[in-house]
Symmetry: C2
Subunit: 485 residues, 2 copies
């Protein structure tokens, strides 16, 4: 989250502004020091307030400077660590534990130095994190601070700042453990101040108006959020669920077209949106626990529901495909990857008419897909010839394209690592501009089969295997057969 810097960048006031900035910085630097070094028994709250309030009014450059100072000057004492290490290495290691416990006493020194070392390996800034965590509003402040750190690290890799981030991330993981989070069923009876957060943070399918929101919280729908007691009234992450007879194929039917069915007839819980609200919690997988908890709750409340599935976007598909097509065009013909089958290529060129003049199939496809107004979706013929290659390549993208052993698509990776399988690809499932831009309108159902979740997680992590239904695998088997010919 970005807070606008308080001072204007007008030339006339720039000198004045810079001295104000300087003064502000020094004050915040000072309050940060107090918040870390004050004795436990003194009044800390004022220092913590000054620090967090001061931080918000600092311009982004001063924040960077402050955080780098925190990382470098409130680190651990390496002298002390080395001293303890020397003591430890001087101890004689007792013989193996299973040789009997007579040597119990000789372990005491180990326990003592290990304990001291754990403490001296804590950087001084841990005190600030711990104090902020127990200070009203502090956890939220830490999450904003981490969002800043992450954005600074994207610009420049500073080792000390990276160490600070990694330390803060581990702290946040502990503080935000599922045991500390409350599952809250969000309803139309919740305070408007909470509901407005849902509207603001819905990242997948924007909520257009109050009626839209009310429908998402009404009959046949559920919305669950994870709340932390220190950040009241603002879910850290939330998931929207539709209770349906069958796994939906398009987002239109979920959001607008079909009226909800009587809940007693539902056999499927469809997760159609999951949104995080805190950029500062990036890399902390709260969604995994949220989905598990929601499945448990829904199964218990509604035993007739046996299918848990998502209707998910494929946010990286088009950018992957367009770059593949472009790089295929640039390659010389020997190494060119033929993304299209011959009959797909000729159908495309036929359908494209004069737009295809002098171009090969991949060039035509690239041109059609990249057109800013998605004109191809207005032509039944173009839609029909694009359908086959787009669906086939989408299956390949989801099942086979990897980055460090994990699915290249971020949403796919999220659900696969949580134990889902790729269930079905849905053509023209999201006709919004966003849907067409991300994935040519294709959406995917990931299926959570309770009995297979752990198994799937394991084979995904250990063997990099992506589980998929026969409906999806068939796209690739055809592919395989074709290339064999």
């Amino acid at each position: 989250m970005q807070f606008p810097p308080p001072e204007s960048n007008n030339v006339s006031s720039s000198q004045n502004a810079s001295s104000i900035t300087r003064r502000n910085y020094d004050q915040v630097r000072e309050s940060m020091h107090s918040a870390i070094s004050m004795n436990k028994t003194e009044i800390l709250d004022a220092a913590l307030n000054d620090f967090s309030e001061g931080y918000f009014v600092l311009p982004i450059e001063s924040r960077r400077k402050l955080l780098v100072t925190l990382a470098r000057e409130y680190d651990l004492s390496r002298e002390q660590v080395r001293e303890l290490m020397k003591q430890y290495l001087g101890l004689e290691l007792p013989s193996a534990v299973d040789s009997g416990h007579e040597e119990e006493g000789s372990f005491s020194a180990f326990y003592r130095i290990e304990r001291n070392l754990r403490h001296s390996l804590k950087p001084m800034y841990e005190v600030l994190f711990e104090r902020l965590n127990t200070h009203p509003g502090g956890l939220r402040f830490l999450s904003i601070m981490r969002a800043d750190i992450l954005s600074f690290l994207e610009e420049e890799n500073i080792a000390a700042l990276r160490a600070l981030d990694s330390y803060l991330k581990e702290k946040l993981i502990t503080w935000l453990s599922p045991a500390n989070l409350q599952l809250h069923l969000i309803t139309w009876d919740d305070p408007a101040s909470l509901l407005e957060k849902i509207v603001a943070y819905e990242a997948v399918h924007p909520i257009s108006n109050l009626l839209d929101l009310k429908r998402r919280l009404g009959v046949g729908r559920r919305c669950f959020g994870y709340l932390h007691p220190a950040i009241p009234g603002e879910p850290l992450i939330f998931i929207e669920v539709a209770l349906m007879k069958n796994v939906a194929q398009t987002i239109q039917e979920v959001l607008w077209d079909d009226p909800p069915i009587p809940e007693c007839e539902a056999t499927c819980a469809l997760f159609y949106s999951i949104s995080s609200t805190q950029p500062g919690l990036s890399g902390i997988n709260l969604g995994k626990f949220l989905i598990k908890r929601v499945i448990d709750v829904v199964r218990k409340d509604m035993p007739s529901i046996s299918t848990f599935a998502t209707l998910s976007p494929i946010p990286g598909y088009m950018s992957w495909l367009l770059s593949k097509l472009a790089s295929a065009e640039r390659s010389d013909s020997t190494f060119k990857e033929h993304l299209l089958k011959p009959e797909e290529e000729s159908a495309l060129i036929d359908a494209a008419g004069e737009l295809a003049t002098g171009k090969n199939g991949m060039e035509v496809m690239c041109k059609l897909l990249a057109s800013p107004k998605y004109e191809w979706t207005n032509s039944a013929q173009l839609m029909s010839v694009l359908n086959t290659p787009l669906m086939r390549l989408c299956a390949r993208y989801l099942l086979q394209e990897k980055k460090r052993g994990k699915a290249l698509d971020s949403v796919a990776n999220f659900h696969l690592q949580n134990g889902a399988m790729v269930g079905r690809l849905n053509w023209m499932a999201d006709r919004s501009d966003k849907g067409l831009k991300q994935s040519a309108g294709i959406m995917v159902n990931y299926i959570y089969r309770v009995e297979n979740i752990e198994e799937n997680v394991q084979s995904y992590f250990s063997k990099g295997q992506t589980q998929a239904s026969p409906d999806v695998r068939i796209y690739l088997e055809e592919d395989h057969e074709e290339t064999k010919d």
Copy 2:
């Protein structure tokens, strides 16, 4: 007909019973191992359930054996720690940070090994703690486990078990940080399952019946609990508050005698009971934060309330005094400490009549106070002669008797370290058997003056000073003057 317990100690079945115990132990040991060593991605919940359920049915001796095994065999790898230390000591320490940051890069190796060391200094059993913490019911189980550890340590000091306890305690402190706790105003509208906990755990003034409970939650009263989301419906600690015109002098008027006043007339919030519910959280000071939070809430809600005070027991007074009296009797006359002033002694001997034959004043006092039915409280004359020395010595006990620099009385230490001052001693303030036994019926008001809290905390910790009002100090000043004569 009697059904024998499954592990009866009859000679005929004892062998059988011991083999059942053995089998149970092995199963729980096995599930503990699974709960620690299973890969993150496998089904852990079953192992954690087996372990915690199995633990509950184990006899106490098997629990001890299991926890010692956990402490010893799931410790850290000292070989790995030593290896990392050697690497670390081999690094060249870059010059001081403030000499410029060109050497940024050379710190990377330090950050990396420090991070690895932090991880390898975590004992293997941390995994179990972490997993239990995020497992339903796990936090509660950990608290029960720690209660067991503490009781085993009381019997025998086993270094490995002490290290386990100290590690678990630090974990619990983190998990139970105030940021994770919710302040809940407990009312008559709360579920009976929660209210029954209040009845069960009220440790200071037992709740005699439903009417008594209802009164403690009704008009002019407040009861606040700290709840953790993972232990729903069971406050970890709770405090009972009476809204009054003046600081109460006896517990009778708070609990039974006086009807509550209209809340708008209240100027004092009296904390008359604070109880922890979890013996496994011993040494983790939740009460301090609870009192601070409650003061904040009450001040905000009721600005007319300006005095925050307790009406507290003095649980250690009688046992201290009786042992002082006994040891004075045993000492030879040269070193005998004269606990009584001459006029107190003669008044006592006069009043005691034939009971005092051949005894000195301290012996008489000892005999009167130790009488199991507190007969002295039935005699106005005995009450009157005991009043002066009991009040004076009580002030000395609270203000001057220390153990490692802290007040000897546990309740005094609790409030003094939270920033209270000793405000007033109240004669015959608790005439219950418990009150007479603990403190000859004397109770004390500790006063929390918001503006002095931090100052008091500091002088208590750094200089061992106990703040007290003139009303209390006067007992000791008289004492001083007398001895000068």
